[in-house]
Subunit: 347 residues, 2 copies
DNA sequence: CTGTTAGCGCCTTCAG
DNA sequence: CTGAAGGCGCTAACAG
């Protein structure tokens, strides 16, 4: 029992034309060099037979799988999820598919995954970098596979990047706290090696200084981007004699960690009644339920994904036209605005 | 400037053998019919040249892309996220890739996406069905592309399915509430058309009846699986004269909706002091922060994903051996246990 | 505008 | 055990 897959030849026979004409008539990027009459004839014949061009054969020939891949440090992450949805929507509207891979927070894995994807002739790769190293990514980009960075920037890599406006977001969060009358405000989480954190810290510092405050060293609880780190920082804060009145959290996870630490503190210990106001990056479905949460900066991950796809498709177009050689546009960095959300009601 | 991709021919030349021998030596499913000596020679040559077999060409020939796809009603969903991570991990360990598509909660879209994926010669498809209709899925499965259902069962579709043990989970949740002394317990959310909901409702009812209670009609707040629905149900409950002391929520979203409704109720209105105990399906990072949440039934989505992949690979193996014809194993349904979690501490 | 032809890179009988 | 040869289904020059 054979797979009776109908090929371009069958259609050609049925329409009384050559396979080349069928191919041209059915070009997904718009038929060219075919008279409208024959094109219609072919399209009709194809439809009536239920012909579907074999994408794999097409890929082998054109070296394009009409596929975009995304590589992220981990898949279980709200930002990634929204991003993937945005990307998928944008891609499927254009007949592209989405390949997903996890780098498992390791540059080595990232390197392997990206290489594997490149071998599969994906047309472009969206990367949330695992670390601040991008040589391997730049290499692929130069080889003709557009790579777009998302969420984190790798400076000097010469790659397109779509990011939230982290500095403005952090500044806005900080200002809100200042407007609420808080003076002793600290920043929690984030490594200076990560562009996202660096920019958010800069925004915080800028807002404080604009307001005439020069945040001392000890009002930066730096280090880490994960739940544990937030937990740890809040632990330290609870043992402080002069804990900050308010905090800016570098991201969702650190925020969550801090809230967790507040939630589980036993009564009758120092810091029992302490409840800071927290302004944090990343809105979630649950932000309103977090007792300390006052403001969040919501990133538009779906829009970032959409923009990333547009970026990639643009690059592909350039490459096609310039024959993979001509000088293409300079790498660009896009900053998408974040939205500040209020979270007042607490039970 | 050409893509100097090295091909099997280059390796053959370098190793002083034919391309056929190279192909055999580098078969990803284990080399056969090659002497160990020549195999080593080939492998070494390939490695030294940095040869990577072109997966697309291989796919065209073997009709297998070494890829598994997942189709879900939506990507922004905790369960999906964990599932995808589980699947990806299991796949990448075996050199497979993961393709992701959204059916956008529509069977029509689901049909299109699945067809597209099948055309790309994916080796199997994991589907979270958008609705209770599976004819198109069964068709592909019979055509030789294994389809595995996840999360929701479509009865009579004759497809493998990996599910949580919904009935046992609901029963356990209900029992916990009963053990805590609650008597007037209701169930919230879920349509009888969805297997997942049906099973959970059955578990609830069974536990209640085992305890000697026969839940009346009005203690089933049925309908919907989303945040809005939970919100709506709690709205109704708040206006009731005899609101239930405790609730079992059909899933995360309905649970969240109910908590939201409780969170935003204004003071000085009926139901102001009302605070039910909620036992809900699905654990999240934030469950501890939900004021009414007492118990959750945590599904092991990663394990479900892993099992789904194993299922698919098994089917692929069967098909290979039986030449796509021989009678394969009966479709099987696997039930993975859920874990009941306590959530006591509230601020 | 259309047809002919030559592969894309690999796998897989079929001989040897 | 190994090699030679013929496609998988499609597209892109090149002719006509």
């Amino acid at each position: 029992m054979k797979d009776k897959s109908i090929t371009i030849r069958d259609v050609a026979a049925a329409a009384g034309v050559s396979t080349a004409t069928v191919s041209r008539s059915l070009d997904p990027d718009g038929a060219e060099g075919v008279s409208e009459k024959t094109r219609l004839k072919v399209v009709e014949a194809a439809a009536s037979m239920g012909y579907q061009a074999n994408p794999v054969a097409r890929t082998l020939k054109t070296r394009s799988a009409r596929t975009v891949a995304i590589v992220a440090p981990e898949l279980t992450n709200d930002f990634f999820m929204d991003l993937a949805e945005g990307i998928e929507k944008e891609l499927s509207a254009r007949g592209y598919t989405l390949l997903v891979a996890s780098s498992d927070n390791s540059v080595e894995e990232e390197k392997k995954r990206v290489a594997m994807l490149a071998d599969r002739m994906v047309d472009g790769i969206v990367v949330i970098p695992a670390e601040d190293r991008g040589d391997h990514l730049t290499a692929w980009d130069k080889k003709g596979i557009p790579v777009v960075l998302v969420d984190r920037l790798i400076e000097g890599a010469g790659l397109d990047a779509i990011l939230s406006d982290n500095e403005a977001g952090a500044r806005a969060l900080t200002r809100r706290l200042l407007e609420d009358g808080y003076r002793h405000i600290a920043f929690a989480g984030g490594d200076m090696t990560i562009s996202t954190a660096r920019e958010r810290i800069a925004g915080f510092t800028a807002a404080m200084e604009e307001a005439g405050f020069h945040p001392p060293r000890d009002s930066l609880y730096l280090g880490g981007m994960r739940v544990d780190d937030g937990f740890r920082h809040m632990d330290t804060i609870l043992q402080s004699n002069t804990p900050p009145e308010a905090l800016v959290a570098v991201n969702l996870l650190v925020h969550l960690g801090m809230e967790r630490r507040l939630l589980v503190r036993p009564s009758g210990r120092p810091g029992e009644g302490y409840m800071p106001a927290i302004a944090a990056f990343d809105e979630s479905n649950y932000s309103s339920f977090l007792p300390a949460c006052r403001y969040t900066a919501a990133q538009d991950a779906a829009a970032i994904g959409k923009k990333a796809v547009q970026c990639i498709l643009e690059r592909i177009g350039q490459k096609r036209r310039s024959g993979n050689a001509g000088e293409v546009t300079e790498p660009r960095t896009f900053r998408l605005p974040v939205m500040i959300m209020n979270h007042f009601q607490k039970s």
